[in-house]
Symmetry: C2
Subunit: 274 residues, 2 copies
């Protein structure tokens, strides 16, 4: 693991790092905020389409309260990167659009193994290098999709969950269906394993309370690309506790994230016992 730069912020330290990933077979970048008094609780934040590790790190305004609560915050990139990694001209396929799954189709399957990266390789590295003992997971948009799908599948790894404007039902259209088909092939049975709404219906509803925030002026929401209501209905079907808050006037961007991020940090700190 190579340290690219380090910056003091709110009495803690924000570092940019790069390492050779075995999951994605390329160099992956991420940032880590270490609070002045770490509690051992760490959060991984999954970003949305087109983002890198930089967007949340510079724009979310999360580190003030993370410092106060003693939370370590890790922000990975959204896909494999590099000249040898396949890409697509669509913003919702290829670089910046890994969808937090393990691709099974050519040309994607060699590098696009973001599920393994985020659920296994990255937390193992963070545990070792930054002494994090217990992880929570949260994310925005495509990263909300990653949070809710990985959350269901890796209950032993992650112990608290929240999402901002998550993509909740990608197998039925909007952002997601085209990517799921490209990465996973035509068998829609496979897609269900990467659709939070369908996955939730197969569980016992035994995750801790999931917090979701959604802006009502969010263009993607209004176009039906997010569909948190479908996810909430699936939760209700299996008795999974979920809290969906809607906010008049807020859109899909980082000003929305900034406004509500503190509530997410407090939600995770409480659930992780930080």
């Amino acid at each position: 693991m190579e340290t690219l730069s380090k910056h003091e912020v709110f009495g803690g330290t924000l570092g940019y790092y790069r390492h050779a990933s075995t999951s994605t077979q390329c160099a992956m970048r991420f940032t880590v905020f270490v609070p002045p008094k770490p509690t051992g609780a760490g959060l991984i934040f999954l970003s949305g389409l087109t983002c890198t590790e930089e967007n949340f790190t510079t724009k979310a305004g999360a580190y003030r309260v993370a410092a106060e609560l003693g939370l370590t915050i890790v922000v990975p990139d959204t896909s494999p990167r590099g000249d040898d990694v396949p890409d697509d001209e669509s913003i919702s396929l290829g670089k910046g659009a890994g969808f937090y799954l393990n691709a099974t189709q050519e040309p994607w399957k060699k590098n696009y193994q973001m599920e393994s990266y985020v659920a296994q390789e990255l937390p193992a590295l963070i545990e070792k290098e930054f002494a994090v003992k217990k992880f929570g997971l949260f994310g925005h948009s495509m990263g909300g999709h990653g949070t809710l799908t990985i959350g269901v599948k890796y209950k032993d790894r992650f112990h608290s969950f929240s999402a901002l404007a998550p993509v909740c039902n990608p197998s039925v259209g909007g952002w997601g269906a085209a990517a799921l088909e490209a990465y996973l092939g035509h068998d829609t049975g496979q897609w269900a394993q990467h659709d939070a709404t369908q996955l939730m219906k197969t569980t016992k509803g035994d995750l801790p309370l999931i917090l979701i925030d959604q802006g009502l002026a969010d263009g993607a929401y209004k176009e039906g690309r997010l569909n948190p209501e479908a996810f909430v209905a699936a939760c209700e079907q299996v008795g999974q506790p979920v809290k969906l808050r809607t906010h008049e006037g807020y859109d899909h961007g980082y000003f929305f994230i900034q406004t509500f991020i503190d509530d997410h940090l407090r939600h995770h700190a409480q659930q992780l016992g930080a």
Copy 2:
């Protein structure tokens, strides 16, 4: 004035705007945050080298406390822009490097009239369009230079002042001397009108308390490009109240700004009676 986009944030509204400036003879962009309950107090933030209106707006994390205090916040670009505007390959001359002065030399003098823009044209527009009644001025690096020089010269317009890692003595080297020569010519007497340290020595020290924050791991500071100590000495010479706070470990970037911005907002709110 044209509205480019608007975003809800912390219960207020952040807008991106563009207008045809008579000072700089080109289209100028700026952002305005209007808090949920405006008090009539407004701050203009002047950014550093290479920045546009975007950097502070997305990275400073200022709107949470601005919303709480009822402060309107205006962030202009750092120079004239457009294909017809002269530029230079140096990061400290031309676009992104207006130095908040009125250039007298070719090819700069037509468009590089940022002092008039920031001290007169922009606040007049904001007064009219956003009902701001009383202005404060603050800034970072080159924008700290702009704050302290314009602060001395336009006492009737601005009523509170603060700076983060300001360029305090540009006429004697570091960032600034080359730009001052290009914009103002060889007469160093003219440069003194755009050097906060020299200007302060000519005053009665009758500005309200000026707050300055400086990180001690700031590369520009360590190389002598900022020199807040010279400015503080000039203040002491004329009896001007000034508070310079230094911070171990903090560098020159927006993580430093994020960490201390709330203190600046509270400083201005108090001085403006917001």
